[in-house]
Amino acid sequence: MNTADQYVKAIYLLQQVENGPASTGALADRLDVSPASANEMIGKLESRGLAEHEKYKGVSLTDEGIIQARDALQTYCIIERFLANVLSVSEFRAEARELEPVIDDLVAERLDTIIDREDDCPDCFDPETDACCHLKIGAESTETEQRAD
């Protein structure tokens, strides 16, 4: 997944959590980049017609940006489901984030041929737990992570 896709996906999820525009600071935190890098990329997304930035409010996706973000989220869901269900990785969230930049959409599509994804994907993705809500392992792993905190 390319960098722009990772950004639109992150903005999409933050907008859901914040129920409004995503702040640049929250976006930079989520992507573990500097606010300057986040601002630079937001500018690029704006010029591609994928996002709109309003001073002091934050960034929102355009309709086109939302379509691209939902596609990227589906790809991410495939990676998470593949790790959790096929490779039985308990730390599938952390690993999906690590693998996301190296896994191309084409590859995810092929992995999708062995994954039983639900029809509501990507609405199945819960930004709070950072996982597909149909993943049984998701709930267990969240509890473990919370206990570990």
Partner: protein
């Protein structure tokens, strides 16, 4: 929760995971080729060119899988048994079953292109990283480059066959 924006492989663990994904991709190709091959038996006129292409694809994937498994072994990680992937492919195959020879060739083209893209990205991510791995980096990249070249040849073969039809 932060995600990593970048295109690098930085640890043995991440490398082993990516190689495991490569193994699964090869297993998917192998299992789907086998299924396609079986479906040719039911076809009214057996197409010998497609038959030999699928046979070759399945054998090549098995070879690639073994080479990747050897690398994963050296990293002290486990690979997913082929039988497990075959069962998953079987479970999903019904909904994506090809209807004719063109569908089979198209699916095969996707297989080869995807594998090529995967190895190409992995090689790029390895070259972009200065991390030291539990296996010799040059040998690792050499193996992946060889496999990638065979995938490129595969794309060419399928494309040629598609153009001739």
């Amino acid at each position: 929760m932060p995600v990593s924006v970048g295109h690098r492989v930085t640890s043995d663990h991440q490398l082993a995971r990516l190689l495991q994904i490569g193994i699964v991709l090869e297993e998917v190709v192998e299992a789907r080729s086998y299924h396609h091959y079986q479906s040719l038996d039911d076809a009214p006129a057996l197409d010998s060119e497609i038959e030999s292409l699928l046979e070759h694809a399945a054998a090549e994937s098995a070879r690639h899988r073994k080479r990747l498994e050897e690398l994963v072994d050296e990293l002290d990680a486990e690979s997913v048994p082929f039988e497990e992937i075959e069962t998953l492919v079987e479970a999903q195959y019904g909904s994506t079953e090809p209807e004719d020879f063109d569908d089979i060739l198209y699916d095969q083209l996707c297989n080869e292109e995807t594998a090529y893209k995967f190895y190409d990205d992995l090689i790029g991510a390895l070259r972009a990283s200065d991390a030291t791995f539990g296996i010799d980096r040059d040998r690792l990249i050499d193996v992946l480059v060889e496999i990638r070249e065979e995938e490129a040849e595969g794309v060419e073969e399928v494309t040629k066959l598609m153009n001739n039809r």
